[in-house]
């Protein structure tokens, strides 16, 4: 049994894997997870994963994600984030040559994968623009669900800001101008795409493997495919790529 844990900014993803069996997956809200399973031990925040469905605080845990260095998972080996996501994407898609696009809760990553190895990468700076957090805030501003937000991509309103904070004021301005919810939602989805396009342009492939929680957005999938001309592959359970990648690394 191998356990992978991806300590994301918005959610903690756990994958349990055995050879030749489909992975078992679990997701927790990050804050709730830290409160329930973490405590400070001699100045360091320790997570004890016993009781979460993971095979106890024993061997076989591999961790990655935003919190991988600030949070200690008892008995875990830590691996780099982009590597974990790439390994997970390879495992989930059986592809070896592609551009990985991972849009998470608070960051975005693009990696160029050739022959199953990462040859180049880009990430956003310290800013949550064009990430899940931006979508969450914009959905809240429009008073619609994330699922509803992800339905719209036609006739978008032009939005200049992808800032998770300031985007809201611009959006409210457009609401006041009388645009419809579908047009506003489409505008939000297009604005994320505009923000990641420079990264995609630099590291483009015929196939884009789209992972992270934002990959659930059908609108974004369609926009990316249409505008880049690439084939967009979204694996099942795309936000577990990091956790699954941890298991893959441990099994190697």
């Amino acid at each position: 049994m191998f356990a992978g844990i991806d300590l994301g900014s918005r959610s903690v993803k756990i994958a349990l894997m055995e050879k030749d069996r489909p992975p078992r997956l679990q997701k927790y809200d990050t804050m709730e997870f830290y409160r329930a399973h973490g405590k400070k031990v001699s100045g360091k925040f320790m997570l004890d994963v016993a009781g979460t469905g993971l095979p106890g605080a024993g061997a076989g845990i591999t961790a990655t994600g935003y919190g991988r260095h600030s949070v200690k998972v008892r008995g875990a080996r830590v691996i780099p984030e982009i590597k974990a996501h790439m390994l997970g994407a390879i495992h989930l898609t059986s592809l070896a040559d592609f551009t990985l696009l991972d849009l998470g809760g608070q960051d975005s990553k693009v990696a160029l994968v050739r022959g199953g190895r990462m040859v180049d990468f880009m990430t956003n700076d310290k800013c949550a623009a064009s990430t899940g957090r931006y979508l969450e805030n914009m959905a809240a501003a429009l008073n619609i669900s994330l699922v509803e937000l992800s339905r719209h991509y036609r006739s978008p309103v032009e939005l200049a800001s992808t800032c998770a904070i300031f985007g809201e004021s611009e959006l409210i301005g457009k609401v006041v101008e009388g645009y419809s919810i579908p047009a506003l939602a489409a505008g939000v989805n297009h604005s994320i795409f505009k923000r990641i396009l420079p990264m995609l342009n630099r590291l483009i492939s015929k196939t884009i493997v789209f992972t992270g929680g934002v990959a659930y957005s059908e609108a974004l999938r369609l926009i990316i495919a249409e505008k880049t001309g690439a084939q967009v592959v979204v694996p099942e359970n795309p936000e577990y790529a990091g956790a699954i990648g941890c298991c893959v690394e441990a099994m190697r």
Binding site: H69, S70, P80, E81, D107, R117, M118, V119, T123, K126
Partner: protein, 425 residues
């Protein structure tokens, strides 16, 4: 540690804010520096210097002043310290490198400005830098718009002499710079009340060259694999070189180099043989800014050179020692300083050539170009660096950051991915 509170009080420091700074520094230093394994024993001196950064060295400056000496502060490797030394003065690098006095600094500066500028203004207005408070004169330069304009404001609080650094390196620019160095000499003479003689200037050139030679020797030793010393330790030494007593510092660096030569012979190092070797380039990292080097070296790589002002740009060229008259020596000094590859120059091809040749000399696997936020010269020049390194097939990671710690995790993600990529080559 001796009790320095009286001295700090007499310098007019804000003791409460100063205490806060002094409480943070040892913790940071402990986790960044003392946690390193296989450190050379010779680092003990530099650990001591940091532990006394606002203590013994400040006491020495007060003793120097009590004996009629002057202390001159500077921010830039363009300020010719040979001249200050020849006039019997002490030149010190001024405090920056940490978020401090932000609220006070933002009263006179825009919120979005280079963190280095905001930091030095914060140190001055917050009265937390004993170096600043020991200076009766500060020397500024025109190496960037932000500093240039900030010096006008700083002049409200301490006299600032601004040297006009040219922006190109043509003959007429060289003439301008020579006249600036000549003016600086006259200003320093007037300020210290001491005449610069051929003898005193020759000696000052020799002393400063000896310091630069010791630093060059240290950097030569980093060519070896495994690297005998960490990049973090070298950066620290380069930061300390800006304010420590010159002959003492030189002797300590040379003693450290003696130890490192033995290490090299024995094949000992701070990282495993074959660990990824990186060159750090970009904007200066003023003490105590160790964020990015710490991330890099705790991710399994070792830094083998700093192509920065707190690094090679400070010591890579020497002033010729064989000139006869003061005039000739001043000309030689002006020439040496204009060879520094600062991004304020257009074009700045010398820097690109330097990074490329350095990558070969140091057997580097890649370059990390790290720029402070809002630093236009270096941020824009990142494009030229990228182009030059692509032409030579040298991997590069560009980072933009500030003195805050909140982006450490993102930087680590990128550095780890960069190392992963180097491993795949």
């Amino acid at each position: 540690m001796a009790d320095y509170r009286k001295m700090w009080e007499s310098l007019g420091l804000d003791l409460e804010s100063h205490d806060q700074l002094m409480n943070v520094l040892p913790t940071t230093y402990g986790s960044v520096y003392m946690s390193q394994e296989n450190r050379p024993e010779g680092m003990e001196y530099f650990d001591f210097v940091v532990s006394e950064v606002h203590g013994q060295r400040i006491q020495e400056l007060q003793d120097h002043k009590a004996a009629g000496g002057k202390v001159i502060g500077a921010f830039c490797v363009y300020v010719p310290e040979e001249i200050v030394r020849a006039a019997g003065g002490i030149q010190v690098g001024l405090c920056s490198g940490v978020e401090i006095g932000t609220a006070q600094a933002e009263k006179v500066l825009p919120r979005n400005i280079c963190p280095l500028i905001k930091s030095f203004m914060g140190f001055k207005l917050g009265k937390v830098c004993p170096y600043f408070e020991s200076c009766n004169m500060v020397v500024g330069e025109t190496t960037c718009d932000g500093k240039k304009k900030a010096f006008e404001i700083l002049n409200d609080f301490v006299p600032v002499h601004v040297m006009e650094t040219p922006q190109m390196k043509r003959e007429k620019d060289k003439a301008l710079w020579l006249s600036e160095v000549q003016d600086f000499l006259a200003t320093v003479e007037e300020y210290t009340g001491n005449k610069v003689t051929a003898e005193s200037l020759r000696q000052a050139i020799k002393d400063t060259n000896a310091k630069r030679r010791a630093l060059l020797r240290l950097n030569e030793l980093r060519r070896h694999d495994p690297a005998p010393i960490s990049g973090k330790d070298c950066l620290l030494i380069e930061q300390i070189s800006m304010y420590d007593d010159v002959p003492r510092f030189t002797a300590q660096v040379n003693a450290l180099c003696d130890e490192l030569e033995v290490r090299v012979k024995e094949g000992k190092g701070v990282a495993v043989t074959g660990a990824p070797r990186l060159i750090l380039s970009g904007t200066p990292m003023a003490l105590p800014n160790w964020k990015v080097p710490h991330v890099i070296e705790t991710s399994g790589a070792v830094i083998v050179a700093e192509e920065m002002c707190t690094g090679l740009r400070y010591f890579e060229n020497l002033v010729p020692e064989e000139e006869e008259t003061v005039e000739q020596m001043v000309e030689a000094i002006a020439g040496r300083y204009l060879d520094i590859n600062c991004a304020c120059f257009t074009p700045n091809d010398g820097r690109m050539e330097k990074i490329v040749s350095l990558a070969g000399e140091m057997k580097a696997d890649g370059v990390i170009n790290c720029t402070l936020a809002f630093c236009d010269p270096y941020l824009v020049e990142a494009n030229r660096v990228t182009k030059a390194l692509q032409e030579h097939n040298i991997p590069l990671l560009n980072l933009e950051t500030d003195y805050g710690q909140e982006d450490s995790a993102q930087i680590k993600t990128r550095v780890e991915a960069f190392l992963e990529m180097l491993g795949n080559r």
